[in-house]
């Protein structure tokens, strides 16, 4: 009996040490997200602290300094266009006042500097340092001057991790600004691009159409530019097509981003909504949008605000 066990134990011995590492990896994967998040924070502030400071997580790193310089340069360029943007905003306010329109929501922009890029093999993730950490919360929408970039997935001390559109977990309700037809935009990891799936093949999506957020789902405010239609794919014998979208903002090129703070100031107050049922909780334009199943009448469509 003993002689038959010895060869087996000797054969297993070389596998024990590597096997322990692999089992530990599997165990880590099965942990709940909150535990993983805490563990990552501990590791990042202990074992991996030198790398964090050296390679781009820390604000004193060479990469962060370089990015900060580039940001200053971009800011200087941006200031040239601020006057024109202010004038357009004033004009928009005047027109809104003349037509009796109210803003659906007010948004504030919280600037942040990109200090690190995710090193995962699938999808994009950014590490950003916001100007005012006290205002950051998970789920905040992140944009660049070009368009929608993603949302804050994790908030850790002075840094926020931004889950970009090119991420497996992201899904955005979007609409075609020209036709107001809607759909769900997701990253297609197989083709490596953004796509809106399950669109009826007779729908009117043309090359170059602007794709903006629809506001459905309450995660992303309406009207943020997501990208432009660059093609479509129809499955063999299928009545549905997939719309391919060229993203407006790219994670690899982002140097300065903005975190969107939304306050629905134009929604009804508690006094206004008392005793009037469903319609009191949603502004009239929102109710019309829901009733049209993502396709409001064209006559009601008006240009979306851009960022």
């Amino acid at each position: 009996m003993r002689s038959s066990q010895r060869p087996l134990s000797r054969r297993l011995r070389p596998w024990l040490v590597p096997g322990a590492a692999l089992l530990l990896s599997l165990g880590l994967m099965l942990l709940p997200f909150s535990v993983k998040s805490g563990l990552a924070t501990v590791l990042e502030r202990s074992v991996f602290l030198p790398y964090r400071f050296a390679v781009g997580w820390g604000p004193r790193s060479l990469l962060a300094q370089h990015r900060a310089m580039m940001t200053l340069q971009e800011r200087a360029r941006g200031e040239l266009t601020i006057d024109a943007a202010l004038e357009a905003t004033r004009e928009s306010s005047r027109l809104r006042a003349m037509l009796g329109f109210r803003r659906r929501s007010e948004t504030g922009l919280l600037p942040a500097v990109v200090v690190g890029l995710g090193r995962g093999r699938f999808g994009d993730l950014l590490v950003v340092e916001p100007a005012d950490p006290a205002l950051v919360a998970p789920g905040m929408v992140v944009i660049t001057s070009d368009g929608l970039l993603g949302r804050v997935r994790l908030w850790d001390g002075g840094y926020a991790r931004v889950e970009c559109l090119t991420s497996l977990e992201m899904a955005v309700s979007v609409t075609n600004q020209r036709t107001s037809e809607g759909g769900i935009l997701k990253w297609d990891p197989v083709r490596g691009g953004l796509a809106i799936g399950a669109i009826p093949s007779q729908s009117d999506w043309q090359l170059g159409d602007r794709v903006v957020t629809s506001g459905l789902g309450l995660t992303f405010p309406r009207g943020i530019l997501v990208g432009w239609v660059r093609g479509h794919r129809v499955g063999r014998g299928s009545l549905l097509q997939s719309i391919e979208v060229r993203p407006a903002a790219r994670a690899a090129q982002a140097q300065e981003v903005f975190l969107l703070r939304t306050t629905d100031t134009a929604w009804p107050t508690p006094a206004e909504r008392s005793g009037t049922g469903f319609s009191a909780f949603f502004p009239p334009e929102s109710v019309r949008f829901e009733a049209g199943a993502g396709q409001p009448p064209r006559a009601a469509a008006r240009p979306e605000p851009e960022f």
Binding site: V17, L30, A40, L43, A54, V55, G120, R121, V127, R161
Partner: protein
């Protein structure tokens, strides 16, 4: 001293991943430099060291996105084990053996990532393998030997490639 050298190598790899590697991606596919670190640790110190190095490097990737914590550890650890077992009985001084092993190791690492990423939609896993794992492994098998050869020449080490002697 060896630990310090390894820390420097990891530091350089991280610098590379943040600087030139994103610029040499082709259609989103880039070389897997972490796999290179694991590979050459296996050459130097054996499979057990390689697997644990893969585990730690995977954690380094995982702390950036805690939702995937453990995924890269498993992928790199398995790749280290594959290389360790694959080297048994093979001529490690042969460039052909090294390139083929790097290819299979890179493919296995990306295959593990693809399978774990595509669990919610199993039908997409073969496509993920074709789209990411196969070209990524090819790219890695081309870039890593070149980098390792260059490093061996600059450091004046024996053998045509790091750890091959």
């Amino acid at each position: 001293m060896r630990a310090l050298r390894l820390a420097v190598v990891v530091f350089l790899v991280l610098i590379s991943l943040a600087t030139w590697v994103p610029r040499v991606r082709v259609a989103g596919v880039g070389p897997d430099l972490f796999l290179g670190v694991v590979f050459f640790i296996v050459l130097w110190r054996g499979a057990a060291w390689g697997v644990w190095a893969g585990f730690v490097l995977g954690l380094l990737v995982g702390v950036e996105d805690p939702a995937t914590l453990g995924r890269d550890s498993l992928a790199l650890g398995l790749a280290g084990l594959l290389v360790g077992r694959g080297l048994l009985g093979l001529d490690r001084t042969s460039p052909f053996v090294i390139v083929v092993l790097i290819f299979f190791a890179a493919f296995s690492a990306d295959a593990v990532r693809a399978v774990l990423a595509g669990l919610s939609d199993p039908g997409s896993i073969p496509l993920l393998l074709l789209r990411w794992a196969l070209p990524g492994a090819l790219y890695t098998a081309i870039v890593l030997p070149v980098l390792a050869w260059t490093a061996a020449r600059l450091l004046g080490l024996e053998g045509w490639i790091l750890g091959a002697a």
